[in-house]
């Protein structure tokens, strides 16, 4: 072999080594699923039942993180039971059951219960809501509760990641989610610590039978939202203001007459189902402003804007 041939072979080898990472990256990009398909699968839920234990963590600026453990059981068709565990003995705290038609809350220790028709959103409507608010991107997500995942980042149009979702590659179940504040700091994390999937929980756990002596209480106020995230309940109500809380996070809704509508706020506008919503942002978080009938509703608090929008869309103009 001549020196010239040797040099040519070395040059060829060098070029191949340099080109390999680019080819690998290109292959990896090609093998990633579409983020919209993943989100749709996560919203629809798995085709089998499952049971598990979740940890919900709240992170306050300058404060200690707070956490709560939740036992989850679910069946296909929208039946879900979430039971908050309290203290070292893991006694039942707040129990939330949705059966696809009715939402029920019960707190046995407090002898309180709430029940009423649920506000259902189809997976397609949920995807449309998220797609209108965020840019979706997918990457490999690592292991969560011993399951391999895809990570879907939901970014606001400016480019900042607002939420991250970890979706089980096999079943499509949402295994973990994180919400971030406008400054990028972590605000809330929910993740499965243990998961049995598939599993067949007994149908009786999805029937809420209030214990003797339990008295019903307010859960929704006429003219105010009919949907709130799991675990949130009404804790304050007046004629122009209601507040929901899960004990660590709060959402407030204020109402103003339409003639005195807001102006001058720095906001972007999105439209859903013929309703216009303005999303305002400042360092404290996000706020949603929408007109329903003759009233302006302002939603603000510790929720990402897509959940505030879902609450806003559940307000009905029936007055």
């Amino acid at each position: 072999m001549t020196v010239e041939m040797k040099m040519k072979a070395e040059l060829l080898l060098s070029l191949m080594i340099l080109a390999m990472p680019a080819a690998a990256r290109s292959r990896a990009r090609r093998s990633l699923p579409a983020p919209e398909a993943l989100v749709l699968k996560a919203l629809a839920g798995p085709a089998t039942g499952y049971t598990g234990l979740m940890r919900v963590q709240m992170f306050r600026p300058g404060g200690k993180p707070k956490g709560v453990t939740v036992a989850v059981a679910a069946l296909p068709g929208g039946r879900v039971r979430r039971e908050t565990k309290m203290g070292r003995r893991k006694t039942a705290g707040l129990i939330c059951v949705r059966d696809g038609r009715t939402a029920s809350l019960s707190w046995p220790a407090q002898k309180r219960s709430w029940s009423g028709p649920d506000r259902i959103e189809s997976p397609e409507a949920g995807l449309a809501r998220l797609s209108a608010l965020y840019e979706l991107a997918v990457s490999t997500g690592g292991l969560v509760a011993k399951h391999t995942t895809w990570r879907v980042n939901l970014s606001v149009p400016g480019g900042r990641v607002r939420r991250s979702l970890w979706v089980d590659r096999a079943s499509g179940l949402l295994l973990k989610s994180e919400n971030y504040r406008p400054d990028g700091t972590l605000a809330r994390r929910e993740r499965f610590m243990k998961l049995a999937l598939p599993s067949d929980p007994d149908a009786s756990v999805f029937r809420m039978e209030p214990a003797a002596g339990t008295h019903p209480a307010a859960s929704f106020v006429p003219g105010f939202p009919r949907w709130a995230p799991d675990g949130f309940m009404l804790v304050e109500a007046s004629s122009s203001r209601v507040r929901y809380s899960d004990g660590a996070a709060n959402v407030t809704v204020e109402v103003f007459p339409a003639q005195a509508g807001p102006r001058g706020t720095n906001s972007r506008t999105v439209k859903f189902a013929g309703r216009e919503l303005k999303i305002a942002e400042d360092k404290e978080g996000y706020a949603i402003v929408t007109l329903v009938g003759s009233r302006f509703y302002v939603f603000f608090g510790d929720l990402p804007e897509d959940e505030l929008v879902r609450m806003a869309l559940s307000v009905e103009d029936g007055r």
Binding site: G142, R191, A260, T265
Partner: protein, 124 residues
């Protein structure tokens, strides 16, 4: 400053003003990019009212809004009083599972939460 350099006390004020004007006129103008940068920095440092403050300002900026707001609040209060005094159904078919509208006695939800180490044991 030496005695020779010190300005005489009996200078005509008109002369002083003319000298000041001449000095200002002879100074090189501030570069436009520096001026724009200084203005941007000043705007960034200025306290920015929150969206809620802006909203409340816009609501209170119109004198007639007080009347409308008061009328609205009064109407809301009347509705609430009527609802609270009326026998409440177990489930309202229109407004959802409303048993009683007011008062809301909040259960101790904060008791559900405990201190957390903030850790995440997963790779994800």
């Amino acid at each position: 400053m030496s005695d020779e350099e010190r300005m005489p006390d009996d200078l005509d004020p008109r002369l002083l003003r003319a000298m000041k004007a001449a000095l200002i006129a002879s100074a090189p103008p501030m570069p436009s990019d520096l001026k724009a940068e200084l203005k941007r920095m000043a705007r960034a440092r200025a306290p920015r009212p929150s969206w809620l403050e802006l909203l409340r300002q816009s609501l209170s900026a119109r004198p007639w809004a007080y009347g409308a707001g008061a009328a609205f609040a009064a109407a809301g209060l009347m509705i609430m009083l009527r609802l609270s005094s009326a026998p409440s159904p177990a489930t309202d078919p229109v407004t959802g599972p409303v048993a009683r509208v007011v008062p809301v006695s909040a259960p101790p939800l904060a008791d559900l939460w405990t201190d957390d180490d903030g850790g995440d044991e997963d790779e994800g």
